[in-house]
């Protein structure tokens, strides 16, 4: 305990003292001490009584121990002043034989001290070995980390928007103050977050509306960014919440204004539409064919006089349809189900008070993406128009009759006047002539002159007759190339409303590759018109079935084109069929016979034929066959 320096500067002399009765064998002890002195970790050995038994070189250097310290009570050594519980801890280690640790702060240095029991061989513990691990740099880096973390926390807490870091299993790892004050359910985001955490997709910012107690409803824009460090197994997500409530409100205010304007516009146009429907007596409907789901506009309810709360069904409509039109309606519905093409037809309603309404319907077929058929259509109440048309038609036919009669009598008077003038001259001249010849002596020259005048007046009368005939003979025979389909379509267009008025369903089957014929377009159209009218008239008394009229064209062998008009009317006795075409033969009171005979003469002028055949079922088919135009090119 002289304090003399030991070379090297260890304090191992004390070891002998500890184990005084059993000194370490000289060479072995020296080796051990040399090894211990090379260890950079300070090692100090305390005896049971906590006096210093020895230390290595590192302890001398680092803890500023000197050989004179051996044998001193550890509590008197300045470096141990920072360990008030050292003696207690050493006692525990000695008693238990289990090592323990303790921290030591010495100025700006930090150590972790391991206290291990000191035993010699299998003997009892006679002291403790303290090893000092310098953790100053480590502690400093931890402090730095803590400091940085605190700084980050402070910054994050200063951010007004909530920020949260989630672990891979979406537990909240950490959040800033704003987040915790704004806690809300993240469930709606889980799927998205999962996708992002799994690395399968990027996270798109998402808007979330949430009610916050005391704050009301806020709109937040969530952004999420993965947080990962190379080599670090854990994946976290930084979720930020941007409060865009104010921005959204400003946008919403604009949107609301726009919506209000649109709504206003919509309301106005709806009002216009309703008013237009009311004024035009036109209702609109939609009919989903597969489900028979029918929607009506208000006006259509008014037209049918149904309560607007009643669901519309085909059966309900059927209760209003005029009994005579029921078959027509059924037929129309069946056709509509099949084809999906646009259709248009007229039918009547019989209202509960017995009054009749005439409706005109136009429907447009559409198909949705699944191919289901739906009709959108309009129904107009044309009762007033029909009634006035009927009245007009009646007036017209009466007028036409009057006009015909008037024209005939005027014509007769005119012809009579024109013919009577020369007749009068003839008679007078002939009388004069006879008298001149009977005179004594006969006035032969005078008689010759009057006879000459008689002949002249006779020629004059003949000229009058020629003029009258010329007046009633059609001017000229126009020859042109005629597309019979086109000509037929024009006639059908003319006649359509009349056919519908007569509740005739007209079907056209016009051949696509029909060659042209040569002739007079207008005259051929008169033939078609005549055949259609006759067919329609033949079905007037048909009430037990739909009145079907089929007009078809086809190309025949031998360069002919055939046009047929088939009705399902009352038909004609087979023996009368030939007579049908004779002039003045008619089965009707208003004289169709002349029309047919004129038609036949027109067809014959076209080098064609007109004939009639009874159908297998009810009705007759009239056909014309006309040679094709040799220059039409399709032959």
């Amino acid at each position: 305990m002289t304090g003399q320096p030991v070379e090297p500067t260890g304090g191992w002399t004390g070891f002998q003292a500890v184990n005084g009765d059993e000194p370490v064998a000289g060479a072995t002890a020296t080796d051990l001490i040399s090894i211990l002195d090379t260890v950079e970790v300070p090692i100090v050995v305390l005896r049971r009584d906590f006096t210093i038994a020895g230390f290595n070189k590192a302890a001398a250097d680092v803890l500023r121990l000197s050989p004179s310290d051996i044998g001193r009570a550890s509590r008197t050594i300045s470096v141990f002043a920072g360990l008030p519980r050292l003696e207690e801890q050493c006692s525990q280690v000695i008693a238990s034989g289990v090592e323990s640790r303790t921290d030591l702060r010495d100025g700006d240095r930090s150590f972790v001290i391991r206290i291990s029991p000191y035993a010699k061989g299998d003997r009892q513990v006679t002291g403790t070995v303290l090893t000092f691990t310098n953790v100053t740099a480590f502690r400093a880096s931890i402090d730095q980390v803590i400091y940085e973390r605190e700084c980050t926390k402070a910054i994050l807490n200063a951010v007004a928007d909530p920020v949260v870091v989630l672990s891979a299993d979406q537990r909240i790892h950490s959040g800033n103050r704003a987040f915790y004050t704004m806690f809300f359910e993240l469930a709606s985001l889980r799927t998205r977050l999962n996708g992002m955490l799994a690395g399968t997709r990027a996270f798109q910012p998402v808007e979330v509306d949430h009610d916050f107690p005391g704050e009301g409803r806020r709109t937040l824009l969530l952004h999420a960014r993965p947080l990962s460090m190379p080599g670090h197994p854990e994946r976290r997500v930084l979720v930020t919440f941007e409060d865009i409530t104010a921005r959204k409100q400003a946008e919403a205010a604009n949107d609301l204004r726009a919506i209000a304007e649109r709504k206003d516009g919509l309301r106005r146009s709806e009002a216009f539409l309703a008013e237009a429907q009311r004024l035009s007596l036109t209702g609109s409907f939609s009919w989903r064919v597969s489900t028979d789901e029918i929607t009506w506009s208000e006006q259509l309810y008014r037209i049918f006089e149904f309560d607007p709360s009643m669901p519309v069904t085909l059966e309900l409509i059927g209760t209003r349809v005029h009994p005579e039109d029921t078959l027509l309606l059924q037929d129309m519905i069946e056709r509509a189900r099949g084809t999906g093409t646009d259709f248009e037809y007229e039918h009547r309603l019989r209202m509960p008070d017995g009054s009749i309404k005439y409706l005109h319907m136009v429907a447009h077929g559409t198909r949705d993406e699944d191919g289901r058929l739906e009709y959108i259509g309009a129904v107009q109440d044309v009762t007033a128009r029909r009634l006035s048309e009927q009245a007009l038609g009646k007036a017209q036919s009466e007028l036409a009759h009057v006009a015909r009669v008037t024209a005939l009598s005027t014509l007769t008077a005119s012809i009579a006047h024109e013919v009577n003038q020369p007749l009068s001259g003839i008679i007078t001249n002939a009388s004069t002539c006879l008298r001149m010849l009977a005179a004594d002596p006969p006035d032969v020259d005078g008689a010759r002159e009057t006879a000459r005048r008689t002949i002249r007046d006779g020629n004059r009368a003949s000229d009058v007759i020629k003029r009258v005939r010329a007046l009633f003979t059609k001017k000229e025979w126009a020859t042109e190339s005629v597309d019979l389909n086109e000509a037929t379509r024009e006639v059908v267009a003319l006649l359509l409303s009349e056919l519908q008025r007569n509740r005739v369903m007209l079907q056209s089957e016009l051949a696509h590759d029909l060659p042209a014929v040569t002739g007079d377009r207008v005259q051929l159209q008169q033939v078609v018109l005549n055949l259609l009218r006759n067919a329609s008239d033949a079905m007037v008394d048909v009430h037990d079935r739909p009145r079907h009229l089929l007009i078809s064209t086809e190309r025949e062998d031998g360069d002919h084109v055939r046009l047929s008009v088939r009705d399902n009317g009352v038909g004609v006795d087979p023996q009368d069929i030939d007579k049908l075409l004779d002039a003045f033969y008619t089965t009707k009171s208003d004289g169709m016979g002349i029309g047919l005979s004129v038609s036949r003469s027109i067809v014959e002028r076209h080098h064609g034929l007109l004939w009639a055949e009874p159908n297998d079922g009810p009705g007759v088919t009239f056909s014309i066959s006309i040679p094709t135009d040799p220059e039409s090119g399709t032959s």
Partner: protein, 122 residues
């Protein structure tokens, strides 16, 4: 010496009547003059001499009834036999009521003509 023959004037726009009727009237023993219009007759110097007027109803310009009225206005009481190619039965009573002697519908027989003219001259 034959008594002076009565003058029968014919007013008609139809040429064949103007040619044929005077010849026949002359065969009957009347004097005859023909005029193509009412205006031509009124302008002639035979108005006062005319004992009977064969007058067409429908003519361009002044019609037969117009001439009848004009003569009445001029106090020329000439018996008138109307001739017409139209069978206007409805106007006949009116014309007769105004003093027409007779009305002949063309074509008429020579007997009907002679009867009508003779009756007018009585």
């Amino acid at each position: 010496m034959m008594p002076r023959r009565s003058l029968v004037s014919v007013v008609d726009d139809d040429e064949s009547v103007r040619e044929s009727l005077p010849d026949l009237l002359r065969q009957f023993g009347f004097a005859a003059e023909a005029f193509s219009s009412a205006e031509e007759f009124l302008a002639s110097d035979v108005v006062g001499e005319t004992r009977c007027l064969l007058l067409d109803i429908a003519m361009p310009g002044m019609s037969g009834p117009d001439l009848q009225q004009e003569l009445t206005r001029r106090r020329q009481a000439i018996p008138i036999v109307f001739i017409t190619a139209y069978g206007e039965a409805s106007v006949l009573p009116r014309l007769l009521a105004r003093g027409a002697a007779q009305c002949l519908v063309k074509p008429f027989s020579e007997a009907a003509l002679l009867d009508a003219v003779s009756a007018a001259l009585k």
